[in-house]
Symmetry: C2
Subunit: 465 residues, 2 copies
């Protein structure tokens, strides 16, 4: 389908356009790249990892990349007041960057078909650039990172989005990456590498809806996009007449409602109230100090098999910076779910978010989805979070259900079910005090303001685009 | 002097008014309170502190208030790549709140004459409320905190400023307090307690210029005020005609220049660039693991007397929540200085700030003053920071010089010299890459955005109001 669009069409037009003369078929492109990728991913003992050393922590001999250490946690948020766990420490700030450019007037995004060894679907669409300083300074002696200069030497470029955002704060300590979208002028030639393709937002939406085709790093960057006038690559002149299905029309309208400066300030004040309500104290400790965890050459695991385990992975692949390597990964227990409950109030779609303390967050607490469930981490049904009953919502309430991967560069088989549930207008949701309804426009402004929305919620927001 | 002001005058008018029918003489009020305060502050051994325990860390038996622990630091910022030091850990978020109200149309601020045992000048003007949860939940069984309800139950109130801001990140780990200014309507009666007084901004400026009369907590809250239209208690209609001395006219104009949304985004992107450039890795350790520090009943001190020492303080006083108590305090080596270098460009005053890594910052790096010098922490002249030569600037360049106390509830005799230096228009300052010129308006917007400006720089900004 080729839709006629004006030269100056904005993000909304991009979400309705499924191809341009320069965009490939998104399914076929990904499948061709996946078929071409010669790869072999094997689980190995930790002591078989080249250049990794396990003592009081698990670390790379170079001192770079990341370490796995122990974390001692005390908090009055949630059912468990105190625990210890392994945690990934990676103080480096990586760049997750997408180049956007108008093609025939329609904003397109330069996506990379990228293999990540931990993903169930090995090859997925990633951001144009996804690199840590350890990568791009070539600690492992690999190839240079293509397109990095668009983000490192950005002076004079139009920066659509640029923010440090948190990542998986149950598994990482204080991890954040720089999320960037940089726009190049329509007449600037951008060479398109072999594994790269321009996609419209409509194509990306299709891939997101199918699940496990757009990786976590791309999803967090895309969550910075908004249908709000002025927040996308260009002001969108088409606010009146939005085609697409009824729910997407609601999404677009919600991006444009309830997000004034005053709304933003009120939400921030409410969030500070929540930060002051709950306590969190974390302390890095040695792996040997984790009472409930067993550390050995075959991996690091919970005595009762809860939460996750750390194992080794050996990778041989052609399409990454280096041909083959081995590394530790974190494999969560299966069954993780994130769900966003929505409702309409005065005709406007709102989503229910919660202020959630997580041990690895930089500032204690961020907004999370209505339900963020890690069943493998619970001691029993008494640990189930509030509103978990909405995971059993009747099928007609479900607006989105897909499986999405977490970062396959650090996590193994970490597939999270993503659910968006719209309750009927006469249905009343009884939520605790640390929950709050907001429009997608307000949630997007909070995402664009820094450490306010956690990565699981941002992933859901990207899937709703 | 009583200046005629219109009913709807704003912050600028308040800075020019030196009294109202309801404001006392600021000097006399403070001196009367100081004279009335019966107090006795004595240094005591750590093991003489009631309810405090020194083992691998120094802590209160209740588990509340704060602890002194060890911190192991690695960074590539500055001359020292790795060190260990004691650090104060206080995960609680306190409230620093000032009530503002128009009196005869002029915004006034409700200030408290407050004793803090560590201050050289024991009684100073503090915020209306200055309280940690340990205080206001009355862990030590003291009196309730007056005016707390204006900040804790703020629904429906006009919130002029509300932000979590960092504090002394060389001495505290991840410490932040909630800085608030709440406006009550002109016709709402606010009972004025014995130790409280309404002051105009002009009166506060006078006290700030004299030094050691407005405490650190009040200064950080006041740094959220701006002469920019719309940022103060009310839009200011007097932008055209600003009396006062020539430098203050420059200050007011600088609050109103170079601070558009685009300027703010550009500054934030530059700050993220700096965060990505430098590394910081901190780890809490036991006091016994600090090689260069000696811990004993008589205190915790550096073997060579550098940086600071931790000692005990016994306090008997009438005008605090409890009559007497004892606690540990941190006494820095004397001679600390913060200096802001200013210049005029195209007629607009700009200040030179630097992106500075400090071990206790929540997000690695914030903006600091041009020079932030702790001479007692240096190994020798080779550790002197860039631009330190401006501390010897000729007297005609000096716009402000005063001694200001740090938080006298935690620090002993911690007086920091505050300097503002304006270089001549034809003088060129050679600054490293992590330094940047900005207007006071932009710096104020960054202060209001969260963890962007450190407390030493905020204190200078407040002194320039």
């Amino acid at each position: 389908m080729r839709t006629e669009t004006p030269r100056s069409a904005g993000l909304l037009a991009s979400s309705l356009v499924l191809n341009t003369p320069q965009t490939p078929d998104a399914d076929a492109f990904l499948e061709a790249r996946a078929a071409r990728t010669g790869h072999l991913v094997t689980e190995v003992p930790l002591d078989a990892l080249t250049d990794w050393r396990l003592d009081d922590r698990l670390s790379h001999v170079s001192g770079r990349f990341f370490t796995v250490e122990g974390l001692s946690v005390r908090t009055d948020f949630g059912p468990v007041p105190q625990w210890s766990q392994p945690v990934i420490v990676q103080p480096e700030i990586g760049i997750l960057g997408i180049i956007t450019k108008r093609i025939d007037g329609v904003p397109c995004f330069l996506m990379q078909a990228k293999l990540e060894p931990g993903n169930t679907e090995l090859v997925q669409y990633a951001a144009t650039v996804q690199a840590t300083p350890s990568n791009y300074q070539r600690v492992h002696g690999g190839r240079s990172t293509p397109y990095l200069e668009y983000f490192r030497e950005h002076t004079g470029r139009r920066i659509v989005f640029d923010q440090l955002l948190s990542e998986h704060a149950s598994w990482y300590l204080h991890k954040r990456n720089r999320n960037m979208i940089v726009e190049v002028p329509e007449d600037e030639d951008v060479p398109v590498g072999d594994d790269f393709a321009w996609l419209t937002l409509g194509q990306l939406r299709g891939q997101l809806q199918r699940g496990n085709r757009v990786n976590m790093n791309a999803r967090t960057v895309l969550s910075g996009l908004s249908y709000r006038t002025g927040a996308g690559p260009e002001d969108d002149p088409h606010s009146g007449d939005v085609p697409g299905d009824a729910f997407q029309r609601q999404v677009v309208a919600s991006h444009r409602a309830g997000c004034s400066d005053a709304d933003l300030r009120a939400a921030m004040t409410w969030l500070i109230d929540q930060k002051a309500r709950f306590s969190l104290d974390v302390r890095r400790v040695g792996l040997g100090e984790l009472d409930d965890w067993v550390c050995g050459p075959d991996g690091i695991r919970h005595r009762e098999g809860r939460s996750f385990r750390i194992v080794g992975l050996s990778v041989a692949a052609a399409s990454r910076e280096v041909g083959s390597w081995s590394q530790p990964v974190l494999e969560p227990t299966p069954g993780n779910v994130v769900a966003l409950v929505c409702r309409r109030r005065a005709g406007v779609l709102q989503v229910l978010v919660q202020a959630m303390v997580q041990p690895g967050l930089t500032d204690r607490l961020e907004l999370a989805a209505t339900v963020q469930l890690t069943p493998g981490g619970l001691r029993g049904p008494e640990d189930l979070p509030p509103l978990v009953e909405y995971l059993e919502a009747p099928e007609p309430w479900i607006r989105l259900r897909s499986l999405q991967s977490e970062d396959g560069g650090r996590f193994l088989r970490a597939d999270t079910e993503h659910l968006v549930i719209e309750v009927p207008e006469d249905h009343r949701v009884e939520a605790p005090d640390n929950y709050r309804w907001m429009t997608l426009g307000l949630l997007n402004r909070l995402i664009r303001s820094g450490y306010y929305v956690n990565v699981e919620a941002r992933s859901l927001v990207a899937c709703m685009l």
